[in-house]
Symmetry: C2
Subunit: 154 residues, 2 copies
DNA sequence: CGGCGAAAGTGGCATATGCCACTAATAGAA
DNA sequence: TTCTATTAGTGGCATATGCCACTTTCGCCG
């Protein structure tokens, strides 16, 4: 089967990654559907939950996302009362974030469904493989990539 | 170091995948910046290029993306004259897609920059590893996941 | 041939993400 | 202390993606 690989899953690492992300995202989104949360929102709530009233910048950095994008993504969660923000007492530029009681409750609710999806996934690919994949993805995410031309000698 | 792992890169396969996608996406986007194309658009043009005047549904399926999402994503490319559509001559429901000459030219231009980014990435993680990662991601993308509750006995 | 159910897209609506220009506030240099 | 460079966010604008409700065409059955 010389060319059996469906043509075009190009060799682009980025395209392949996005494609997988769309696919897996849909699965987790479906799983979380009953909670009304998207998998991205779930991830964000979780990140906030495990952090200690993190500053927006800290969250953005942890999730490797643009600060402004984080701000946008946070809005629906604030609107729905799951998250609230408050100014840091020592540095008024800093805005800290925390879950509201409803947010904690919603997260608990979502965690139940999430764990089912997670188990479902790991039953398919294997716990070991899943862990390796996550490790590989974290490694990729933390790579210090830079375009050569962008960084001239000095 | 009991909890040394940066707290919160949760064990969620989906969250990890998205995080990596954001990170890598930014790199490829930067690389393609000079062309004015986003890495997603590049991927889409490439997919169209290697297909034979594919129907929208075929593209959506290959990229595992929602048909309507594809339609939306295609708009800026059509507006900018890189892509054009036409009705299938045998089935008027089907809309086929192809690159315009400008689209082909733009793709060529982008491929040059893409290959630099791609090489840069593979120099970091290793060609072998990159290939394995893509294979793993393709496998994940093609998994037939289903929520148990969603599929009752019948 | 008439009509029904499936298939392929479209449009609207909502969230996800990024970049850029701008504002507020702080840390430092003078 | 005052002026400046830096840091943390915000808002606007544009693309990326999905879901759902429709509309148009087909394919097929009676």
């Amino acid at each position: 089967m010389t060319e059996a690989r469906k043509p075009g899953f190009s060799d682009c690492n980025n395209a392949t990654l996005r494609r997988a992300a769309r696919s897996l995202g849909r699965f987790y989104d479906d799983a979380l559907g009953p909670t009304g949360l998207k998998s991205t929102q779930f991830g964000l709530l979780f990140q906030i939950h495990i952090s200690d009233e993190p500053a927006m910048g800290a969250i953005a950095e942890a999730l490797i996302m643009d600060l402004s994008a984080l701000g946008h993504t946070l809005k629906p969660l604030i609107r729905d009362g799951y998250v609230e923000t408050f100014a840091d007492k020592d540095d008024r530029r800093v805005k800290r974030v925390r879950l509201t009681p409803q947010g904690e409750a919603k997260l608990d609710e979502a965690l139940k469904l999430w764990s089912i999806a997670q188990r479902q996934f790991e039953d398919k690919v294997g716990v070991e493989q899943a862990a390796k994949l996550r490790a590989a993805l974290d490694a990729v995410a933390d790579l210090d990539l830079e375009m050569p031309a962008a960084a001239p000698s000095n």
